[in-house]
């Protein structure tokens, strides 16, 4: 069904403040909303939706600043697509069709699964289901804070991670039921810390770190991200990450030592506790190596 007029919320009684009207008119002109049949009223409601989500209770100046920072053209395009506007879809496909496949290929590293991933998203974007007589399109959730391309990238990544995690769980389950007790690489119970004081001191030391420091540690040691990737996630150069990691490790050790000593250990006992903790590291490294080996094993199978 061709829909020429975009209806954001038929029942909304939102009326913008007088001070906001000039900004809204300016943005309306800039967005090119009229070519998709979006009325000024619909446009105002769309902006209010964004403001309610990101700046609830904000004053008009704050709202205007938020609106000016939006990717208004892409937001209008997305809403026009979600409403089923043909012209909008033509424009969307021209701009993003190949990009979508490229993004999917970049995520999955393989053509066939990339195509499948991208095609599955197309259905969600178009809105193949209806709710209360209205098309339910995933593009409705795009709010224009970031670029539409970036949003598509994130959505694809979410879909991919969801699928990967589901598949991983299924494989582990099948292996365990078929072959009895095994030492599978995933979901094993981690080795227990010998002394509860060490766990407490470690928790305390981690709590003292800034969230970004914990993010860097988690990304490097738990997720095995490269320094470059972590730098991009955090928004700094990779050499900064490298220096920060070294500094964090020293700081952690120092704080853990302090924590152990405040819990009744003397320096020698604290150091011994840390040494014993390193021995447990061997077990964890084995598990990590097994995970690596399993992945490499799959690669070898593929390449043979």
């Amino acid at each position: 069904m061709k829909i020429d007029t975009i209806r954001i919320d038929m029942n909304s009684t939102f009326k913008p403040a007088e001070a906001e009207l000039p900004a809204i008119r300016e943005l309306f002109e800039k967005s090119g909303a009229a070519r998709f049949g979006l009325t000024m009223g619909g446009f105002e409601q769309m902006l209010e939706q964004v403001a309610s989500k990101y700046s609830p209770g904000a004053n008009p100046q704050q709202k205007q600043q938020l609106w000016r920072d939006l990717r208004i053209e892409e937001l209008v395009l997305a809403r026009a697509c979600s409403a089923g506007n043909d012209a909008a879809w033509v424009e969307f496909l021209n701009k993003y069709r190949e990009k979508l496949y490229d993004i999917a290929r970049g995520i999955t590293k393989e053509d066939s699964s990339a195509r499948e991933l991208a095609d599955s998203l197309y259905g969600d974007l178009y809105g193949t289901t209806e709710k209360e007589g209205r098309r339910v399109s995933r593009l409705n959730f795009y709010m224009g804070r970031g670029s539409l391309e970036g949003w598509l990238r994130t959505v694809l990544a979410q879909e991919f991670v969801n699928r990967y995690r589901k598949t991983k769980r299924l494989v582990s389950l099948e292996e365990e039921t078929e072959e009895g007790v095994q030492f599978s690489s995933a979901d094993s119970v981690p080795a227990q810390i010998a002394d509860h004081r060490l766990g407490e001191a470690t928790d305390e030391a981690l709590d003292r770190l800034a969230a970004e420091d914990r993010l860097v540690l988690a990304a490097y040691y738990l997720d095995n991200r490269t320094l470059t990737e972590i730098g991009r996630i955090v928004g700094v150069h990779e050499s900064t990450i490298s220096r920060r990691l070294e500094k964090l490790l020293k700081m952690l050790r120092k704080h853990v030592m302090t924590g152990l000593q405040t819990r009744g250990m003397d320096r020698g006992q604290a150091e011994e506790a840390l040494e014993a903790d390193v021995r447990y590291l061997t077990v964890d490294v084995r598990r990590r190596l097994q995970e690596n080996r399993s992945a490499a094993f799959q690669q070898d199978k593929g390449s043979d």
Partner: protein
């Protein structure tokens, strides 16, 4: 980077993620750094504790533009980079020169250069055809030598393959790598035929020109007309499927167009080939070079990269050069190297399993083979003998000369080894178990699981099953090549090896 303690790792991973998960819009805004300070700190707080969202953010990072990617690649060691650039460039020039010399009958492209004329000489047709290969060149300002950037783009660079040090850990994901920005076109003699024909290598001629491929390896760099490669491009370790750029190559300015010059060049190339072989032999036996230096120097023309990613043109050329440096014949299927393939990117860990490396020499009877020597041994014979000597894993083809087969850098003390054909299993202290499926060329470290403890004291191979016994009396069996291990109950009798 040093490791963290187990307690830190556990507590770091056990922190509860603050609900709720941010939506795609907010995640995108974070990635594109358009969130306010308050929003960003909330997001970072969440990401620090939520592996799921961290995965999404990492996957949704946009691909880097070319020049940015080049800057983030780690710098290799000086010697390694110099040797690589040097040999890489020489190899390409040698191939081109050899093709010019060895493949007569190319039609002249005088139509493209109306000013060029062919001089008739009193010699036979050979001279005339040789003459046709050399045409007056366009004046140029750059020196007549293949630059390092071109050498990198020919696929001879191996930084992207993660050789050496922490490059494997820190190198960006290969799929995000793009070909380097265009460099000055390589200076190649105009063959007269289509430009792309210069790089064509078929298996039939491969062995012949491959042996000459090394001939000119030092030619340009030692000749008076050459200049050192550009030092800047060492980080461009990426493989480009196009060996040669699309631009029309121009000949070197010193080409006089004479047949005698061609003969002179050929003689020089032959001398250089001999010289290079002598240098390589000295390097191979030189104990003072450390592992990385030897590895880098010996493998300059034979990087460990996946030729399937190069494209057939580059792959066959690479294979030919490899055979020239090892002396072995060009394999009939030059494209099927074991290096992972395109699918190696799919869910591969950032820190891959251990791969084969050349190790440092020593004054003892144990010597160390380069990877290709090991491959040659493996390909040529299934009678490699294995044993453990002083905690090291060694092998020998004739039981007289023993070679260390596993990199020493891991600090593993081996105790037992068992082999069956190309399958080699070796166990050591702290439950270490390693496996090679190709006679010791590549190795994989295995995990027996949490229940296994102690040293590996015995290994039994029975068909496809592998059994190990530890110093703590545990018996474990794997029926899937070491992927998973099951403990055997005390009552069950281990299967007898064949």
């Amino acid at each position: 980077m040093p490791e963290i303690s187990n307690s830190v790792r556990q507590r770091l991973g056990a922190r509860p993620a603050p609900p709720p998960h941010p939506d795609a819009d907010t995640l995108t805004a974070y990635v594109e750094q358009v969130l306010s300070a308050g929003e960003r700190s909330q997001m970072v707080e969440h990401l620090a504790a939520c592996a799921f969202c961290r995965d999404i953010v990492a996957l949704s990072l946009p691909e880097l533009p070319e020049n940015t990617l080049v800057q983030t690649l780690p710098r290799p060691s000086r010697f390694w980079a110099f040797g690589l650039r040097w040999a890489g460039g020489l190899a390409v020039i040698a191939i081109a020169v050899t093709l010019v010399i060895e493949r007569p009958g190319h039609k002249s492209s005088t139509a493209q250069n109306p000013a060029a004329t062919l001089e008739e000489t009193p010699h036979a047709d050979n001279a005339a055809s040789a003459q046709k290969r050399f045409e007056p060149v366009q004046p140029e300002t750059s020196p007549p030598v293949l630059t390092a950037s071109d050498a990198s783009r020919t696929g001879m660079a191996s930084q992207s393959a993660g050789l050496g040090g922490s490059t494997a850990a820190n190198a960006p994901r290969a799929e995000r790598q793009q070909p380097s920005s265009p460099a000055p076109p390589p200076v190649l003699p105009r063959v007269g035929a289509a430009h792309s024909e210069v790089a064509v290598v078929n298996d039939k001629d491969a062995s012949r020109f491959a042996s000459n491929a090394v001939n000119g390896l030092v030619a340009s760099y030692n000749s008076s007309n050459s200049s050192p490669p550009a030092p800047v491009q060492s980080n461009r370790g990426f493989v480009n499927s196009n060996i040669f750029p699309a631009e029309e190559p121009t000949g070197p300015s010193n080409y006089s167009g004479s047949y005698s010059y061609a003969l002179q060049e050929q003689a020089k190339a032959e001398n250089d080939r001999v010289k290079k072989q002598m240098v390589l032999a000295r390097v191979d036996q030189s104990p003072e070079l450390d592992a990385n230096s030897r590895k880098g120097f010996l493998r300059t023309a034979i990087p460990k990269i996946n030729p399937t990613r190069l494209g057939p043109l580059a792959a066959s050329t690479l294979s030919a050069v490899k055979s020239a440096t090892t002396g072995s014949p060009v394999p009939s299927d030059a494209l099927t190297e074991r290096a992972g393939g395109a699918s190696s990117f799919a869910s591969s860990p950032a820190r891959p399993a251990i791969s084969s490396k050349a190790v440092a020499g020593s004054a003892s009877a144990i010597t160390h083979d380069s990877t290709d020597t090991r491959r040659a041994k493996t390909a040529g014979s299934e009678q490699l003998h294995w044993r453990v000597q002083d905690g090291k894993l060694v092998n020998s083809a004739d039981q007289s000369q023993w070679h260390e087969a596993y990199p020493q850098g891991d600090g593993i003390q081996f105790k037992v080894v068992q082999s069956q054909g190309h399958d080699v299993w070796a166990g050591g202290t702290n439950g270490t178990l390693v496996h090679s499926w190709d006679g010791g060329v590549d190795w994989q470290k295995l995990n027996l699981g949490d229940a296994a403890s102690g040293d590996i004291e015995k290994i039994s191979l029975s068909g496809g099953d592998v059994q190990v016994k530890t110093s703590n009396g545990q018996h474990l069996i794997s029926r899937d090549g070491g992927k998973t291990w099951t403990p055997l109950s005390p009552q069950s009798t281990p299967a007898q090896p064949k």
